[in-house]
Amino acid sequence: MHCRSNFFVVSTSLLWCLFVVSFFPAKSYGEEETRNLLAFGDSLTEACYIDGDSECGWVGTYSNGYESELESLLNAHPWNERWDIRVFNYGKGGEQTYEGVGRLADVLDNYTCDKPVKFILLMEGTNDLLHHKNIGQIEYNLELMIGISRGHGLEILLATIPPDPESPYKNILGLNEAIRRIAEEQAAKYGDVTLVDQYSALAPDWVSYTTPKGCYNDLTHPNDSGFDAMAAVWYESLPDFMKQPPPLPGLMLLFDSVLVQQEEDVIQ
């Protein structure tokens, strides 16, 4: 009698715990539209193999830029397959940050894609340095773009820029120091900016990422393996819920299937 009542108490407690825990982080797995990403930048984002444009940025071939590989990484996870996560390429070759401010505002104000985005992958500044722009100016413009993104409810992933052996006069280290500072300050103040240190991740192997040369035939832009490495850095910087299943996937699926059955009963 005593054992039976203990068993009853323990199992009931366990079920209650499971029930409560299964709702964490339920909101993160709720909706498809929280998962798509907008890639915004210059030619390091645009890449080369563009078939044309659409209402959702560039339409590239499978091997284009980093967006193809990032989509593959995200959708490789069985849990994410149900969402079909998309990375929309809004890169524009040659763009400087003062140009990016206006274009980003236009893209977000006039967003016509039928798939909403939750994250912006922001990487710009290398063309400003190419044109000998003041780093303070670039910082100001990146902060403007962060503000524009925030105003549209996006979470911001801000990247440092990769090396560029073609233009040794570029103060890439100086700009990246500024970018790290921006990310830290913005994260502390608003909590919605994540630093993606592309430079630190890619610089040690930049020679292999530009040998053989990629589609731009220079040392500024990576080859296919370089773009894949870039995608992996973005991937690692995304929040956990984008990369792994919920803590109790079985329970979530159970709830989902119950909800689906209820809907079908209603329809019938």
């Binding site: 003062y98 401010v101 206006g102 003041n134 303070g136």
Partner: protein
């Protein structure tokens, strides 16, 4: 039957004459949009491992041999040039000193270039210069000058004994003012456009020189002046010796109108 054939032949002939006349008119209007008085190009490159400023001008369908103007042992960039109706050529560029960026200038006299000298602005950072030479053969320059993160737009012009004291064109603000461009229209009026931030977006500001001061104008004439100056593009042979066209600035004077453009955007 014969009459009909004659009529048809006549109509076709008329059509062909009209078409060929139209084609010639088209070619005429687009093949030579006004005579080009001066074309010159100034650029920076490191042919011998030191970055220097070079200039070439276009005459009789050919570019002259590049002439080295600077003698710098540090980076030089943002080189611009101008040429007046009497053929005097001017060049201004930015030189990176240890911590500062200073403006340097030189002028040619009988194909000899003067030793570069600094244009003292009192500012640690000076770059993105634009230049025109007005109808009185006076060079004007406008550039981005900065003490801190926020650049402002400054201007100066040549007076008999040197450059006028640099002055800021606009009031004090806490936003970047950038990308100045100077133009001379066919009436000899000087126009300036630049970008500033208003309501967190870059907007274009346009001003013209009224003889005493810079006055705001509602419409930026720079786009149409550039259109008239730099089109059609096939009238000027692309210079083969330029390796980095984003570091080269093309200056044109045509029918009194003058202005510059980056070669990479030409």
């Amino acid at each position: 039957m014969q009459r009909r054939t004659i009529v048809y032949t006549g109509l076709i002939s008329c059509f062909l004459v009209l078409v060929s006349t139209g084609v010639n008119a088209f070619s005429k209007s687009h093949g030579s949009s006004g005579e080009i008085s001066d074309i010159q190009i100034v650029w920076t490159d490191n042919y011998d491992e030191s970055e220097q400023v070079y200039l070439s001008h276009y005459q009789k369908g050919e570019w002259s041999l590049p002439v080295q103007i600077s003698k710098s042992n540090t980076y030089v960039f943002h080189a611009v040039s101008g040429v007046g109706s009497r053929g005097k050529r001017w060049a201004v560029w930015t030189r990176k000193d240890k911590k500062n960026h200073s403006l340097q200038w030189s002028v040619s006299s009988h194909s000899n270039w003067s030793p570069p000298q600094e244009i003292k602005s009192g500012l640690p950072d000076n770059r993105a210069t634009t230049m025109i030479v007005d109808s009185n053969n006076t060079p004007w320059i406008v550039w981005e000058g900065a003490r801190d993160s926020y650049s402002d737009i400054y201007w100066s012009r040549w007076k008999e004994d040197g450059w006028s004291a640099p002055e800021r064109i606009h009031g004090a603000n806490k936003v970047p003012d950038i990308e100045p461009e100077l133009f001379l229209d066919s009436s000899g009026k000087i126009f300036l456009s630049y970008q500033t931030v208003q309501q967190k977006r870059y907007v274009t500001v346009s001003k013209s020189w009224d003889g005493k001061k810079w006055k705001s104008v509602a419409v930026n004439p720079g786009t149409s002046i550039k259109q008239r100056l730099f089109n059609p593009k096939n009238t000027i042979k692309y210079p083969q010796f330029i390796q980095k066209d984003h570091q080269a600035t093309l200056y044109l004077r045509r029918n009194g109108t003058a202005g510059s453009t980056l070669l990479s955007t030409y």
